[in-house]
């Protein structure tokens, strides 16, 4: 492993971070919509979103990336690989985050919604000012847990053919024939990204559990 190889890995690492960030931010926005639709009280809307979540939680992320990647090409959209992968990750994240946040919204005590209604707050204000801030706090450990899962999930972009950290490692290992060294370093890089988040999530979970007592 010379300096060139390290630079190549860093370029891959940059793409891993970019993919995870896009997936998390866009998936988060869409996921909020999914969570609100899932708790809207409208029967048909809840059924549709439940199906949406079920499909994404019942199929491998790799297949989702494949279907999005080739499906977009099919409808005539010639997109760069990173955009297609970002769209796939966004859809994936929206379903998982939607489900996590649905649970958090439902975990907010019912009295809160009732009190807000008694104060004649409309739906928008009820959600924005009363329910969602509390749900956000409840959801934080699970949300961070999913972010870790998403960062690890970006590695599947390598199979689709996009050069992020894992594929960069694969290419280098094919060149210098030291797979253990290269994948060891790649693994450590993922670990350095994910472990602080995992620890943060565990810390918040303990803190909230103590506060709830």
């Amino acid at each position: 492993m010379g300096p060139d190889e390290y630079l190549f890995l860093m370029a891959g690492l940059k793409w891993t971070v970019v993919l995870a960030a896009i997936g998390f931010v866009c998936g988060g926005l869409a996921g909020l919509g999914v969570a609100l639709a899932r708790t809207s009280g409208l029967r048909w809307l809840e059924t549709v979103t439940a199906g949406y979540i079920g499909v994404f939680q019942g199929t491998p992320l790799l297949m989702q990336l494949f279907v999005v990647y080739y499906g977009l090409a099919l409808i005539g959209l010639r997109l760069d690989a990173w955009i297609a992968v970002s769209i796939g990750l966004t859809l994936h994240a929206s379903a998982y985050l939607g489900e996590i946040w649905r649970g958090s919204i439902e975990a907010v005590p019912k009295g809160q919604t009732e009190a807000a209604k008694a104060l004649s707050l409309n739906y928008r204000s009820r959600m924005r000012d009363v329910v969602l801030p509390q749900a956000f706090r409840i959801s934080l450990p699970a949300t961070i847990g999913f972010l870790v899962q998403l960062i690890k999930g970006t590695s599947l972009a390598a199979i689709v053919g996009f050069t992020e950290l894992t594929r960069a490692g694969n290419m280098i290992s094919n060149q210098i024939f030291q797979p253990l060294l290269v994948f060891g370093i790649v693994g450590i890089l993922y670990f350095l990204m994910c472990c602080p988040l995992t620890l943060l999530g565990a810390h918040l979970e303990r803190k909230f559990a103590r506060a709830a007592r």
């Binding site: 939680q57 199929t59 970006t154 472990c195």
Partner: protein, 222 residues
């Protein structure tokens, strides 16, 4: 947009795809068994008196949980031959799935064991049960019951992650579909159909776990 969907290659490959579904199922099943074995062993070592063993388990769990399965499977795939072990891709994939699932199983099972109050174990010992019997009947079974839901969702995730084993061309659904895709270039049709197959597989997995839950853990607690 003048593309017409053509499912002919999928229909022609159907026998192979269905057989590969079985491959995925078996791969997942073997992975789960190994994961449970590693999980129970890990918990015993984690809560044992050997300090080194405890730290080893903690390091193992964190290392596995914070790195992608794809990197793990590559690492194991290349590490085994260097260690002098020659394994086909499919057994290698089972090993990787078991190791990955085992790390999560340790955390889940440990949570279950901790949910059993100490008084229960003491009561078991006071009744003259052997230590192994206390573990099996008083700790393991109620703990399994408590963790069954999270174990189920973890194992559905494990089933879905078998698709990543295609990276080392283990015999399962994704690698077979990739072969059909590369021969026919009907990418969307193949992957769309296979996605539906996965949906059925994970649904079946959940049904099976629900069946076991109703069969073995359907006794009153209080």
């Amino acid at each position: 947009m003048n593309y017409t969907l053509d499912f002919t290659p999928v229909i022609e490959g159907l026998p192979n795809l269905l057989l590969a579904c079985l491959g995925t199922f078996l791969l997942a099943l073997c992975g789960m068994v190994l994961a449970v074995v590693i999980g129970i062993g890990g918990v015993l070592l984690r809560d044992s008196r050997f300090k080194a063993g405890r730290w080893l388990v903690i390091a193992f769990v964190e290392l596995i949980r914070n790195t992608p399965f794809l990197v793990q499977i590559f690492f194991i795939y290349f590490a085994l031959p260097l260690a002098g072990i020659r394994l086909d891709p499919t057994p290698t994939a089972i090993l990787a799935l078991g190791i990955n699932g085992g790390a999560y199983a340790i955390e889940i099972i440990r949570g279950g064991v901790q949910s059993i109050s100490k008084g229960q174990m003491e009561a078991g010992l006071a009744l003259g049960l052997h230590k192994a019997q206390v573990f099996r009947f008083i700790i393991l079974k109620p703990a399994l019951r408590a963790i069954f839901p999270s174990l189920t969702s973890q194992f559905v995730l494990l089933t879905l992650s078998t698709s990543i084993a295609s990276a080392i061309s283990a015999y399962e659904l994704t690698s077979v579909s990739q072969r059909i895709e590369s021969e026919s270039f009907r990418s969307f049709e193949v992957y769309f159909t296979v996605t539906l197959f996965y949906l059925v597989i994970s649904w079946l997995m959940m049904r099976i776990f629900a069946f076991f839950s109703a069969r073995y853990f359907n006794y009153p607690v209080k």
